[in-house]
């Protein structure tokens, strides 16, 4: 069974260290190919040497142990071993130099005029805050980071609970989010595209489905997107959507989720102000469409066992005019209408 019911999503190479989309990942990839070549050569030489030694060992007809090998022969072999050791040492120093050069290059990428974004790790989703000196120009979203192509992005990484690790391999290496510490991570996307990332530090039940997307788009497109994110949520446009909003605000949803422009201001779950504009649900676990959204609301625990969203399966099954707190079919449809409108 595929959680992505949508064949449109194929992430092969969208989360790969060998398909760099920015200068940081490209530098690391270049060093990878260097060390890979050196290592492959070294491995081949060692195996060849072993076979050579096995089949060109001195032919003796007997198995009498030679407990005191001839000193002359030992000395000449000693030279060979010594020279090999020295060569190995020089190669290792070369690899160390290459590694330092790569580290230096990564440090030297300018972070001036960088776009500042706070990323906060939660069990098991990513909170994303676009920082701005003007409070009203800040924007909040989840599990989907839009960045402008060609501009450095400076992430400030924090954790809300346990240790997570932010890793979008096409863009740069990973950085841990450790509670009690703040970390920074800079990267730049040099080509447009949708890249996937994923938590890389074991963080409990749903470590496996703690993904996110990095959407790199041309600057003007990005600016338009960000402007839209700053706006409050769309107001309901028809009775069904109005009912959906009522459902959202009166049931348990609003305890955890925020929808800007409404009374819903829970902070422990993703901000849903512009939910409909996102490509995925549940931390890059499901494609975002009405049927997956319905499945997620009704039974998140079977799709992503152990996550913190309560199941509404019982409520929907009971249906009808159940006691308050239960979700009937009509309410669910109205809720989907409302959420589907939150572009």
């Amino acid at each position: 069974m595929s959680l992505f019911g949508d064949p449109h999503f194929a992430w092969r190479n969208a989360q790969s260290a060998l398909n760099s989309a920015g200068p940081q990942a490209a530098r690391i990839e270049a060093y990878w190919w260097l060390i890979f070549a050196v290592s492959a050569l070294a491995l081949i030489l060692v195996v060849l040497a072993m076979f050579y030694a096995l089949f060109h060992s001195r032919r003796r007809s007997d198995l009498e142990p030679e407990f005191r090998p001839s000193p002359k022969l030992e000395r000449s072999r000693g030279w060979v071993v010594g020279i090999l050791g020295a060569v190995t040492g020089v190669i290792l120093l070369g690899l160390i130099a290459g590694s330092f050069a790569t580290d230096q290059a990564l440090e030297s990428f300018t972070a001036q005029d960088a776009l500042s974004i706070d990323v906060i790790g939660h069990q098991w989703w990513w909170e994303v805050q676009y920082i701005d000196p003007v409070p009203s120009r800040r924007a909040s979203t989840a599990n989907e980071i839009h960045v402008p192509v060609g501009r450095t992005v400076a992430l400030t990484l924090k954790s809300h609970d346990v240790i997570h690790s932010f890793w979008a391999p096409n863009l740069t290496g990973k950085q841990d989010l450790i509670p009690g510490h703040e970390a920074t991570l800079n990267f730049r996307a040099d080509r447009a595209g949708v890249f996937r990332g994923q938590c890389a530090e074991f963080c409990g039940y749903q470590h496996a489905y703690m993904g996110f997307l990095v959407v790199a788009e041309p600057p003007d497109q990005f600016a338009a997107w960000l402007e839209k994110q700053r706006a409050p949520a769309m107001t309901p446009a028809n009775p069904s959507q109005r009912r959906g909003q009522e459902v959202f605000l009166s049931r348990d949803c609003a305890l955890c989720h925020t929808i800007q422009g409404t009374e819903a201001s829970g902070k422990t779950a993703p901000d849903l102000t512009h939910l409909a504009g996102r490509k995925t649900l549940a931390a890059a676990t499901l494609a975002n469409n009405p049927s997956t959204l319905a499945a997620w609301i009704v039974d998140p625990q079977s799709l992503k066992p152990g996550n913190h969203m309560p199941s509404h399966l019982q409520s929907v099954r009971l249906g009808g005019d159940g006691p308050s707190g239960l979700l009937n079919q009509e309410d669910l449809q109205a809720l989907l209408d409302y959420l589907g409108n939150l572009e």
């Binding site: 060390i35 491995l43 198995l63 005191r68 290496g173 990973k174 039940y205 470590h207």
Partner: protein, 644 residues
Amino acid sequence: MSARQPMDPTNFEPLGHSAERERLEQTWSTPPGIYGWLTTVDHKLIGKRFIVTAFFFFLAGGILAMLMRLQLAQPDNRLLGPDLYNQIFTMHGTTMMFLFAVPIMEAMGVYLVPLMVGTRNIAFPRLNAFSYWIYLFGGLMLYSAFLLNIGPDVGWFSYVPLAGPEYGTGKRADFWAQTITFTEVSALAVAVEIITTVFKQRAVGMSLGRVPLLAWAMVVMSFMIIFAMPGVILASTTLIMDRLVGTHFFNPAEGGDALLWQHLFWFFGHPEVYIIFIPALGMMSSIIATFSRRPVFGHAVMVSALVATGVIGFMLWVHHMFATMVPNAGKMFFTVASMLIALPTALQVYCWIATLWTGRPVFKTPLLFVLAFFFILVLGGLTGLMLASISLDTQVHDTFFVVAHLHYVLIGGAVFPLFGAFYYWFPKITGRLLNETAGRWNFWLFFIGFNLAFFPMHQLGLEGMPRRVYTYPEAMGWGGLNLLATIGAGLIAASVLVFIGNVLWCRRRGALVGNNPWSAGTLEWATTSPPPDYNFHPVPVVAGPEPLWERATGLPVVAGLSDTTREVLVTTLIEAKPDHREELPGPSLWPLISALALAALFVGSIFTPWAVVWGSIPVAAALIGWFWPKKRETEEEVAEEVPP
């Protein structure tokens, strides 16, 4: 090889008189029956028990690995849920590291070291019995918890705060932490025994320069245990205190630090890898020397390389933390150390190749397993260089690339040599040879299965697959390589089954091949196979690193050791000159009772801090019983005492 025996090791055996042998038999024998089984202090019995127990844990860890591979064989698989999968990968890592790899290396040391250095028992034989019991109880506790579905689920590394009181609910993480305490106490005890045995109980004439490489490796391993284990005992104890009595060592909200845990854990955790790897290097040297029909090339270089690896092994723990916010300038030091530790191992590889080159290789199963090292371990070492680079590590750290790397290093560097060692020393332990054809099946299935299982993981890691995920979306495109890995794991399982069959069959029906079937040169082959309770009679004197090769007509011997008490000869540290005679203690129930009391304290302290208070009373009582002076010994000592 058995066709032509260049020396007959029994040549020197008949020197002892049979009456003397009978007295020795009586003095050194283990009491019969269950009482004897519980009280024995014979390093061979305890060593065998240790090996078999560790092998059982290897099988348990292997079954868990198979379950993980089945779960990951296809995307979005629902065979195991996240809850069970997290327990299983935690148990797999904990089992393989703490209940298999380190203990089996110690176990090989417990069995082989006293024989290799030519003494009649290991130093501190009762402590040895104690260390086995403590290890067994720790393992049983962990598996009891797992089978009761309260097993640990936060990884074999138990990072806080996930393993801390706030997020690691229940007693799961406590069982993990306390298992560590058990194994560490056991490991420390064995380390002290091995160091003392090698330093003080060597055969006369076995100066430091003549100590076999395996014994050297065991000494380096033991020193590493002594320096590394306190770090993790500190870590696991403070974790339990955080969880049980509300200390805040790792709680950032109260001034603690989550990063502190990582430093403490990896200060132990990285040396741990070398604790496993270094004894395997010693086994490599033993096997290569015997099957090349010559001593290992560059003995001094080999010893220096072992010691250098042991020292540098303590300088690179931060390379597990390159993705944390440790400052870059600090990380660079660890890059250098992590790369340079490759040098001593490279030198050993070159020396072994030189040994094969100048020797006369004999292709038997033990040598095959050892030759696999030249491909698998070398590959694992090279990927280790990649992990040493800070920037490259940030890409591959915590991905399947690391899973591939660590299995190449640990299976190629330790398990392959270990299987070679099983084939090599099996005749020593049982007097019978393992079947050669089955050995070849064992080897090739393992070799092919291993590479099939783990090589694709390098690519999976580079293509973005993180470690410790219970499943992955189909759209990631990782399904094919994962299926391949699972097939490889199946071949490994088949190979281990062949091995088990081979052992079960051959321990009763294998070919009887005499005392020294490989015509090896080191002292463990100078006695009968299997060895008598007293190991050697008479005790040999050696004049070179491969004494059996040099004195093919029999060894000079030491006379004058008592045959009515458990006396061993203590020699000087450097020259191994005779120093004095020391009486070793005999069978006793106290080590078992002490281990039970200590186990009760450890297990109880998972649930209440008062267990430490009340539990220490039976521990103290048991230790008093253990060390209570014996009347006969006191009288003898008084008689020998010289008044001032």
